[in-house]
């Protein structure tokens, strides 16, 4: 009885999901993307992501779709739990008959989805998850990733960190895989670039539960000359506020992952940590024609500035559409071979999905936090092409056993 109810139930739901897209009239012959993400668990990042996604979808379909077919998306919320993501991936493949899978924010969910994709022989384009394992240690034939990985962002920051006079470094990172591998790469690469550095304190607060005062004191105890920060979200906010009051950042350079992303710097308002060297997204000052067009369209549709998530959602759809168009088919094996080496132009510039490890060469912006109109923004920034911040192919082959 349950199965009967749910058919009609879901039919209604997917119709709702697709309302934004004019594809609705041709729903039966539309190409379907199944998208699984932690919408209720990570709303701050995923709302702009979803908006960017829908903007791109609208654009692609307004131009007539791909290969004469509209594209339609079926969204699912995994609530932040990998086991539910696996269930909905199955739901999308079995009941919704989607052609490809996409999505994922948390790394473990990205890996779980990648494993389903591998098992079911379906293309999975991971948009957000940063873990290196997704394309290296646990990489597989069907999984690709758009965003610059933990390794790439750490490598970009190491380049800056190595220019600083500081020799004594303290590190703080959330206690899970992302934080740990960010610290590991930062230490490895910085040691390689500058053999005389020392790491004098390391802190691993539980994600979302930083005890900022005690953590800062423990960092202070190491008497560092510079600090590498990987915390983000609420942890970052608390860390910055307490650290500022306690003078942790005075006379010290801070190098920080992701802090220049509006998602994480905006909540700090005027308390944004001026002078930190960060990776991020200078949405207000990036005036390339591609980005201006995107920003204007986004502002017109949603009445707000895009965030990094918006770009990621937007370019995920564009990447899939480009692959579909070039392959001329929804055959997943064909799509995989098309994506290997596929080049396209994004709002950040040209990127390529590398054949060797399925990682895109989308880069990130590196700059310094400054204050403008009571809000933290990036200054003195420049774009770092992801292609330059990946290990040599010989190393990648060792890192990625799947080939």
């Amino acid at each position: 009885m349950m199965t009967l109810d749910r058919r009609s139930f879901l039919a209604g739901a997917s119709t709702l999901a697709a309302l934004g897209a004019p594809a609705i009239l041709h729903a039966e012959d539309a190409i379907k993307i199944g998208e699984v993400n932690s919408y209720t668990a990570q709303p701050a990042f995923l709302k702009p992501y979803r908006q960017g996604w829908e903007l791109a979808l609208e654009k692609v379909n307004a131009a007539g779709g791909v290969n004469g077919r509209k594209i339609e998306t079926v969204f699912r919320d995994d609530g932040g739990k990998p086991e539910d993501a696996v269930r909905y991936a199955g739901d999308l493949l079995d009941a919704e008959k989607v052609d490809v899978l996409a999505g994922g924010f948390l790394s473990n969910i990205g890996l779980a989805l990648a494993d389903v994709a591998n098992q079911r022989k379906r293309l999975y384009l991971a948009s957000e998850p940063l873990t290196d394992a997704l394309v290296w240690g646990k990489g597989n034939h069907y999984t690709f990733r758009l965003r610059p990985s933990t390794y790439m962002q750490a490598a970009m920051l190491v380049e800056e960190a190595a220019k600083l006079p500081a020799k004594r470094w303290a590190l703080v990172a959330p206690n899970y895989e992302y934080g740990q591998s960010a610290n590991k790469w930062f230490k490895d690469l910085l040691k390689r670039a500058k053999p005389d550095v020392e790491f004098v304190a390391e802190q691993y607060p539980a994600l979302g539960k930083i005890d900022a005062g005690a953590t800062i004191q423990a960092l202070e105890a190491g008497k560092p000359e510079a600090i590498f920060n990987v915390t983000f979200g609420g942890d970052l906010t608390n860390f910055v506020r307490q650290g500022t009051t306690r003078g942790l950042f005075e006379g010290r350079s801070v190098v920080s992952m992701l802090t220049g992303e509006p998602e994480y710097v905006d909540p700090l308002g005027a308390e944004a940590p001026v002078g930190w060297i960060v990776t991020g997204y200078p949405y207000g000052d990036l005036n390339t024609p591609e980005h201006v067009a995107f920003r204007d369209a986004y502002k017109a549709k949603y009445g707000e500035m895009p965030k990094l998530g918006s770009v990621v959602g937007y370019e995920t759809v564009n990447s899939i559409a480009a692959a579909l168009a070039k392959a001329g088919s929804t055959d997943n094996e064909k799509l995989v071979s098309t994506l290997e080496g596929l080049k396209l132009t994004t709002v950040f510039g040209p990127i390529e999905f590398r054949a060797i490890d399925h990682q895109s060469t989308m880069g990130a912006f590196v700059g310094k936090i400054a204050l403008k109109d009571g809000l933290g923004v990036m200054s003195n920034w420049n774009y770092r092409d992801g292609a330059k911040y990946l290990p040599p192919d010989s190393e990648v082959k060792i890192l990625r056993p799947a080939g």
Partner: protein, 624 residues
């Protein structure tokens, strides 16, 4: 190397004290509410979060007023939250006073879900940074270090509040009644005290304290949507470590936990995940009733399921069961892959819920950490399959053994306690197991989990796996039923209903409970092993608090008074959640409303509503 000068140690101690005050604010309210009403209030963290959000909104309205505006807002936020607490008490919990004692917990869980979505709808998804407290924005120099003035203020708030509450409870008539009700609420009622007013006022006080705690966090941390769950668990830990019903105990334990946490960060930075639970585990192992608790407090949860009479299945029920099994077995002929996958998952959850029911319903041991055994079963199967390259059948057999072994250890610790203490110790054990699965990366893959645990051969298809799951589920549920009606099952229930009489008639109560614990763990392990193959992967979330809570919800929703209850509960809750998540954005609020509606309509669970074997709920449990 870290240089430990005296000023660093001093500052770290102060950091610990500041955290302790924050913890105490929340824990004191929880303790007062639990003491008088015996409600395990999961929504207490939601009140804390509401206090923070309301404080944020109010302070932003009156920014221009400076200090009076800020402190007025904090106070107003606390009062509003207090009023919300009264509303929850009057509209929901009051109606459940005659229900078995764990049912209010189910209702408060519904409130948690609703508040999460309401907060998201009102305040949006982004973290909100509150203003600094006017007049307390700076720092003082202590030796060579800087320490924020606001933290000093917080350090003072804890003892001041403790003193204020002490005066309230020792010097006023209200306090006298609260203390009397904490000790024997039936006697207080019999003496003519208006229980309703007392309960409402206690809820007001407790919730307002939570709201105050939340609002006072504004100057130190960003307000966010995850504050509720993270704080409520810690607050429970503080209350239990301190000893239920003791405010002094709560303060001492808040200080203990705050300071240990601060120094833990200094010396063992990676231990932050689990330190609090380690402290609780050690305290409860040494002092089973907490630092300041007395024997007998917190027995409530245990007596909640007394006098449930189990009856064998009626002819009608047998027919219904047989029909359901046949229907599921026939699914490969008419249902789609997704439906079969979902039903397989619900069957597995039914085994998990039934194993928890065996522990709670028959053994009288409410566990807040049962997911540990589910997860250990899943890891056991996955490691046997992937690590040792065992065949699937052998890996599935390994699962219950791994879980039973863990149950042997955990059970030995837990069965020495009862009621809330047992529940919280089981939570501590589960959290330690969770932290191990999270941080023992070489074995478990850490939070990235173990992948590629897909069933081979005929079981790779949804229909094959469904039939396998159905067969094992029916076998497991039948085995649990047989155990319940065996002499062992009767002895277990005797130990639950009348431990002293059971002892007197020669039953080794602890041995029975220990055995019950191990059996429940083993069956949770069976479910976990199947789950690993159903999902193709295993993650630490399988052991997390959320999964344990899910299990509790399923058991309570179905009805604790019958063996069928957990099966119905698993299908109702698991199915509802899966369907809602797939189709509605605000699924949490809807799920919360459904749970509330069910609890109010059927205060003994769905099986109680169906009604042939209604729990004899009319009798409130007598404090021991």
């Amino acid at each position: 190397m870290t240089v430990l000068s005296p000023d660093i140690l001093l500052i770290q101690a102060l950091n610990g004290l500041a955290s302790a005050s924050s913890l105490f604010l929340v824990a004191s309210g929880l303790s007062i509410i639990f003491g008088v009403t015996r409600v395990v209030n999961f929504a207490h963290g939601s009140f804390y979060m509401l206090g923070a959000y309301l404080g944020w909104s109010l302070t932003h309205r009156v920014m221009t007023l400076g200090a009076p505006g800020f402190w007025g807002s904090v106070l107003a936020a606390a009062l509003i939250v207090g009023a919300v607490g009264v509303l929850v008490e009057m509209l929901i919990l009051r109606r459940l006073r005659r229900a078995p004692e764990l049912y209010p917990l189910l209702a408060t869980f519904g409130v948690v879900l609703i508040v999460q979505d309401v907060a998201l709808a009102i305040w949006g998804p982004e973290d909100l940074l509150g203003p600094r407290a006017p007049g307390l924005t700076g720092f003082v120099s202590i030796l060579a270090s800087r320490f924020p003035v606001y933290e000093l203020f917080l350090i003072a708030v804890g003892p001041l509040l403790l003193g204020g509450l002490w005066l309230l409870f020792r010097r006023t008539r209200f306090g006298l009644l609260v203390r009397a009700a904490t000790q024997d609420r039936e006697m207080v009622a019999a003496l003519g005290v208006d229980e309703r007013r007392l309960f409402s006022s206690v809820f007001f006080l407790g919730s307002a304290l939570a709201g105050l705690g939340g609002a006072l966090q504004l100057p130190r941390e960003a307000v966010n949507l995850n504050m509720d769950v993270s704080v409520v668990v810690e607050a429970f830990v503080v209350v239990v470590v301190g000893g239920l019903g003791s405010l002094v105990g709560a303060y001492v334990s808040a200080v203990l936990i705050g300071v240990i946490q601060a120094f833990g960060i200094l010396f063992l930075p990676k231990i932050t995940l689990v330190l609090v639970f380690l402290v609780m585990g050690i305290v409860l192992a040494v002092r089973p009733y907490g630092l300041f608790g007395r024997f007998g407090e917190g027995e409530g949860l245990r007596s909640s399921v007394q006098e449930t009479v189990l009856r064998p299945l009626s002819a009608t029920s047998r027919a219904v069961f047989t029909l359901a099994v046949l229907l599921i077995a026939a699914m490969p002929f008419f249902a789609g892959d997704y439906a079969m996958g979902l039903i397989a998952e619900l069957l597995i959850l039914a085994v998990f819920a039934a194993s928890l029911h065996f522990l709670m319903g028959l053994g009288g041991m409410a566990s807040f950490g049962h997911a540990a055994f589910f997860g250990i079963g899943a890891y056991g199967a996955a490691l046997a399959f992937k690590g040792l390259q065992w065949p699937m059948a052998a890996s599935l057999v390994a699962a219950p053994f791994a879980a039973a072994f863990a149950g042997l250890v955990a059970g030995w610790l837990c069965v020495r306690l009862s009621g809330v203490y047992l529940a919280m110790l089981s939570l501590a054990v589960a959290q330690i197991a969770w932290a191990a699965s999270f941080q023992w990366v070489a074995l478990t893959g850490g939070d990235n989990g173990l992948l590629g645990v897909w069933p081979p051969t005929v079981f790779a298809s949804r229909s094959g796996f469904l039939l396998l799951t159905l067969a094992l589920t029916v076998a497991a549920l039948a085995a649990l039923r047989i155990a319940a009606f065996s002499p062992f099952g009767y002895a277990l229930r005797a130990a639950r209903d009348a431990p002293r009489r059971a002892e007197a008639s020669g039953i080794d109560v602890r041995a029975m409970q220990w055995a019950g614990f191990v059996i429940a763990a083993a069956f949770a392990g069976i479910a976990g092993g199947l789950y690993a193959f159903a999902k193709g992967s295993v993650f630490p979330t399988y052991l997390a608090i959320g999964k344990s809570v899910d299990g509790l919800i399923m058991v309570l929703l179905g009805g604790i008074g019958s063996l069928t209850g957990p099966i119905i509960g698993a299908f109702a809750f698991g199915g509802l959640e899966a369907e809602l998540m797939a189709s509605v954005a605000f699924w949490r609020a809807i799920l919360g409303l459904v749970i509330l509606a069910l609890v109010l309509v059927a205060p003994s669970g769905i099986m109680g509503l169906i009604g042939t074997r209604i729990v004899k709920a009319a009798k409130p449990a007598a404090p021991a």
